[in-house]
């Protein structure tokens, strides 16, 4: 289809602000009388606050007040995992215990240093397997795991069971969670190559440039909260509930967010924003709480680490006949995360496994708050799976591209425990296109080629994430000025999807983009509900809502035109910001005139009547506040069918120096298969940004804890080893298949997360290739591991060690 806006580059409205530095993040705001809060955080990985003596601190000049867990939870803290606003029962080091407000941060820090905290130390644990073992310590007060609707529980294996798993065998204990499809036994029986191994992947924290800083003040009973999020509207209602204020009295302000990473999507993942709100309410002054990088590592989120066992069977032709996976997931100090399940579902989707079994047990540790982080599960497992695919290809004498094509998802295919069909799938096309762009045929002969101490390695990676939701609302207004106001609650994370999804509305109405305003940034600009901007869903979900709202508006415009100019609504067409009769294009009205007329008519035209049923409470509130202010398009999106996938393919070539363990990425190409491309520059950015993350997962990033005392070793960027410019290739080639998806009105599907997974997979495969097919069965594969492998040296590390070096 020929689109005017979809598939075209544009300058999203926040770009000038970002380039000039004028855009405001939460901590850029100030308010008269504003004071500053600092946090006192837990000095122990697991403990119970016995007493807080803040009398000296509160007597200090310039100190305005203190907020403790007793203030936040007068009836006691919720007895569940999950982050709390403040706590007296910390289960990870650095968890906020109290906040002090003072005239400036130095005074607040001095006050905190004067507080005497009595804390009872409780046993802590850093490795899920240590906790699983009989007699092992538990991370939580009441167990080492939390079962939904049941509460805390204790899960224990025998010492032999743990030792057997650590030494490379299939776990024998019953898993907490499992699913299965197909005939696993028959699958392995039919396999010509079966590979079985234990593996581990590191958990590591979010690295968003903007920490979870927040500022809040109260005016006339309303709470104004400047914060960060992955969706303004999805977060508003639950955040209001955490602050303890009705939705109609809560204003959330968030023009831009410096990185989402997965856990700013839901209010429960950033309850710390309630600290300035509650403190402000208590001391009746605006409160700014700037969060330090170190604090971000504990009150922010972290990827789950996996300790697992896989057994994969391939038939002679290379098809994956059976896959058996057992994971122990690190649930960290505050619970949460479904990475293992997503990992298994991802394998099923990417490799079209004929029979599959998945088992998982989630265990808490006194480490970071685990939960979603870009491609949670899928992106870790692909780094493990890609080298295994290569081994299978080598054993079966197949080309590495061919074995992937053979197992690739296509239209009509299904995946996952419920054999959910894809809305559409073009993985073979993506593989082919990426192979061409990379010149696989020309380059594959360089595999394992030596040049002095250096050796070439080639890798192919694939990424996947379920990438689309529905059931949200759309809200747009045509103004008497003729401008279109597109209300959009998608977060502004730098993906530009708040703007690119809005273009679906402009496309429907054939509006010039210059005549459109994206209304966003704060909830008192009246936003419709959106799904949280996680799970790579925004482009799919919110083009549906914007498209639907525009169609509603168009129908109303046609109705008005027919009413005023005669004929049937179906007799009218639009173009050039005019609506006119098909038969006589002089009989028409400008958009400005239609809007004016709509406002005169009122009722359903201006949101005052006949609203769609099932509108979300937030959308309904927004509509009610906007009622009468313009000709309104309102839409509640029905549920879509099936699974809209986001697929990626990455090819890479590296040159590994066997003397230093270092490598250079010589070439990298990522091709996306995400339906119709809405915003090419935005997509290319996603693919390149995802590549940087993928490099981090594959070879660099980690968050280490000292087993002796539970201290986190990383308190800043450099210790966490996020990739830098010189660790990433100067050029990362991008491309896309660009075939429309039938479940989306503009054919689009999401891509954010898979753009990372394909790269981590490709890079680990390339390292394995350079080392003659050696499988590390872990991520990240760090410099020291490569050196040790080549030198035949081994460190004295615990096998499958979690949150520590793995040797």
């Amino acid at each position: 289809m020929a689109y005017r806006l979809i598939g075209k580059d544009f300058v999203p409205p926040d770009v000038p602000g970002k380039v000039t530095g004028r855009i405001k993040y939460a901590e850029d705001y100030a308010r008269d009388g504003m004071v500053y809060a600092r946090l006192l955080t837990s000095p122990v990985p697991h403990g119970r606050v016995v007493a807080i003596d803040a009398s000296e601190a509160l007597a200090m000049d310039g100190v305005y007040g203190i907020l403790t867990a007793d203030d936040v939870y007068p009836d006691g803290e919720p007895q569940s995992t999950g982050l709390k606003v403040l706590t007296n029962e910390p289960t990870l080091m650095g968890e906020p215990i109290l906040a002090v407000a003072a005239r400036d941060e130095i005074t607040a820090e001095n006050a905190i240093a004067a507080i005497s905290l009595t804390i009872e130390r409780l046993p802590f644990v850093l490795d899920p397997l240590d906790s699983l073992q009989e007699g092992g310590d538990n991370a939580y007060n009441g167990g080492n795991t939390f079962i939904f609707r049941q509460g805390f529980a204790e899960e224990k294996w025998t010492a032999d069971q743990v030792a057997s798993f650590r030494s490379g065998n299939e776990p024998t204990a019953e898993a907490q969670q499992s699913w299965e499809y197909g005939d696993l036994e028959a699958g392995f029986a039919a396999s010509d190559f079966v590979h079985e191994t234990t593996f581990s992947t590191a958990g590591y924290p979010h690295m968003s440039m903007e920490p979870r800083s927040a500022m809040a003040y109260w005016e006339n009973g309303k709470c104004y909260l400047h914060g960060t999020s992955q969706s303004l509207s999805a977060i508003a209602e639950p955040m209001a509930a955490i602050v303890g204020v009705p939705l109609e009295d809560f204003v959330f302000i968030n023009e831009a967010t410096g990185g989402g990473f997965g856990q700013r999507a839901r209010a429960g993942s950033i309850p710390s924003m309630a600290i300035p709100a509650k403190l402000s309410q208590k001391i009746n002054r605006p409160v700014m709480m700037r969060v330090s990088r170190e604090e971000e590592f504990t009150i922010g989120g972290a990827r789950q680490g996996l300790q697992g066992w896989v057994k994969v069977g391939f038939k002679r032709d290379g098809s994956m006949a059976a896959m058996d996976m057992y994971c122990v997931s690190d649930n960290g100090g505050k619970g949460g995360g479904g990475d293992a399940n997503s990992a298994a579902a991802g394998v099923s989707a990417l490799y079209q496994t004929e029979a599959m079994r998945f088992r998982n047990t989630s265990i808490g540790t006194n480490t970071g708050h685990r939960g979603a982080q870009r491609g949670p599960g899928e992106n870790q497992i692909m780094a493990i799976m890609a080298p295994i695919m290569d081994k299978a290809a080598e054993e079966l004498g197949l080309d590495r591209l061919e074995i992937r094509k053979l197992n690739a998802a296509q239209n009509g295919d299904v995946s996952g425990p419920r054999s959910t069909p894809f809305t559409s799938a073009y993985m073979p096309e993506a593989l082919e296109q990426a192979a061409t762009q990379f010149d696989w045929e020309g380059k594959k002969g360089r595999s394992r080629q030596k040049n002095g101490a250096k050796v070439r390695g080639l890798g192919i990676g694939q990424g996947y994430h379920n990438a689309g939701r529905s059931g949200m609302d759309g809200l747009i207004r045509l103004m008497p000025s003729g401008r279109l106001q597109i209300h959009n609650g998608v977060g502004n994370l730098g993906t530009y999807s708040y703007a690119s999804t809005s273009r679906a509305a402009a496309e429907v109405l054939m509006m010039e983009w210059e005549n459109c305003d994206v209304v966003t940034g704060r909830t008192d600009r009246h936003l419709p509900i959106t799904s949280p901007q996680d799970g790579s869903n925004s482009i799919f979900t919110n083009t549906r809502t914007c498209f639907g709202a525009a169609q509603d508006l168009l129908a109303k415009m046609k109705e008005i035109a027919a009413m005023d100019l005669g004929g049937d609504p179906a007799d009218y067409e639009i173009d050039g910001s005019r609506i006119y009769q098909v038969a006589d294009n002089t009989a028409g009205m400008t958009y400005a005139e239609v809007a004016q007329r709509g406002m005169e008519l009122g009722g359903k035209f201006t949101g005052e009547a006949e609203l769609p049923e099932e509108l979300n409470a937030l959308t309904a509130l927004s509509v009610s506040r906007l009622a009468g202010t313009g000709l309104m398009g309102i839409f509640h999106d029905p549920r879509h069918n099936d699974n809209p996938p986001g697929f990626t393919v990455t090819f890479t070539e590296i040159e590994l120096d066997k003397e230093t363990g270092k490598f250079e990425i010589l070439d990298m190409v990522t091709v996306a298969e995400c339906g119709t491309v809405v915003h090419p520059q935005g997509l290319a950015n996603q693919l390149r940004g995802g590549a940087v993350w993928g490099i981090g997962l594959s070879v660099l990033e980690r968050h280490l804890y000292d087993p002796q005392n539970g201290l986190p070793a990383s308190s800043g960027y450099w210790q966490s080893k996020i990739p830098t410019y010189l660790d990433t290739p100067a050029q990362i080639g991008t491309g896309w298949v660009d075939l429309p998806d039938p479940e989306n009105p503009v054919g689009a599907r999401g891509i954010g997360e898979p753009s990372m997974g394909a790269v981590s997979a490709a890079l680990n495969a390339a390292i394995s290739d350079a080392l003659g097919g050696h499988l590390f069965d872990t991520a990240p594969v760090t410099t020291d591991m490569i050196i040790n492998h080549i030198a035949g040296v081994s460190e004295e590390a615990t096998p499958l060690a979690q949150n520590n070096f793995r040797g």
Binding site: P43, V44, R121, Q708, N709
Partner: protein
């Protein structure tokens, strides 16, 4: 004056003992110097009233066997080395002290164990026993001691207690460092570790005081013959009869 104990924060931020306050080193040094100087002055003032010094000429009796003299001097050397190496970093001297310190410590431990065994089975242990009677000795000029005077016994047992304390704490601290024999661990809790350092430090201070006192007396003119006996083994019969009760100590003749 500073505190006696130094504290630090353990890994959890709680206050635990770090060790002895080394300000005490100066306190001990000054106190010992003052006391010994006072003793020297008083002794000088009393010097006229003193009896003639016993002659070192004539028949010689054996006071210390070679093996015991050897023990004494090895122990003395190792203690002086231990004190020197242990206090060097406190005094701000940048020397590689630790290896010398623990090697000297091992030597000291070895010879002390040797001495204990020998004294229990091969030496006249009773001669060193400090009984209630002995406490009358300094106040009654008619009473003479057996082989060892009250002061000597007192010094011996004080040194015994203090040396055993530095050895026990020293060995426990030795286990906390890397050596050619083992790799260290952090198995000792920080509060216990601090206590070990404190006791090691306190006993070191006591040992410094005792060593200084011992050296002082060893060099005093009226005691010099004892020092000579620790070098050559003998004292003269005159010296014996002037200072000891031969009914309580009857040594064999020296070679």
């Amino acid at each position: 004056m500073g505190e006696i104990v130094r504290y630090k924060r353990d890994v959890w931020g709680e206050e635990v003992i770090l060790g002895v306050s080394w300000d005490l080193l100066w306190v001990v040094a000054v106190a010992v110097l003052v006391l010994l100087a006072a003793h020297a002055i008083i002794m000088a003032a009393l010097a006229n009233k003193k009896m003639e010094k016993a002659s070192s000429e004539g028949r010689r009796v054996l006071r210390h066997e070679t093996i015991d003299r050897l023990f004494h001097w090895v122990m003395a050397a190792s203690i002086l080395v231990l004190i020197a190496t242990g206090t060097a970093p406190i005094l701000g001297l940048r020397i590689a002290w630790l290896n010398i310190h623990w090697i000297a410590g091992l030597l000291l431990t070895f010879v002390v164990v040797f001495h204990i065994i020998r004294s229990l089975f091969w030496q006249d242990f009773k001669s060193m026993i400090l009984g209630p009677k002995d406490f009358g000795e300094p106040f009654d000029s008619s009473k003479k001691p057996g082989k060892y005077t009250f002061e000597q016994k007192g010094m011996h047992w004080a040194v015994t207690v203090v040396v055993l304390a530095v050895i026990v704490t020293g060995v426990l601290l030795f286990l906390q460092i890397d050596t050619p024999f083992w790799d260290r661990t952090n198995s000792m809790p920080e509060d216990q570790l601090g206590l070990m350092f404190l006791l090691h430090g306190l006993s070191t201070l006591a040992l410094i005081a005792l060593a200084a006192t011992h050296i002082y007396f060893a060099l005093r003119p009226e005691k010099l013959f004892y020092t000579r006996s620790m070098v050559s083994g003998w004292i003269s019969e005159d010296e014996m009869t002037a200072n000891h009760d031969t009914s309580l100590w009857s040594p064999k003749e020296a070679d």
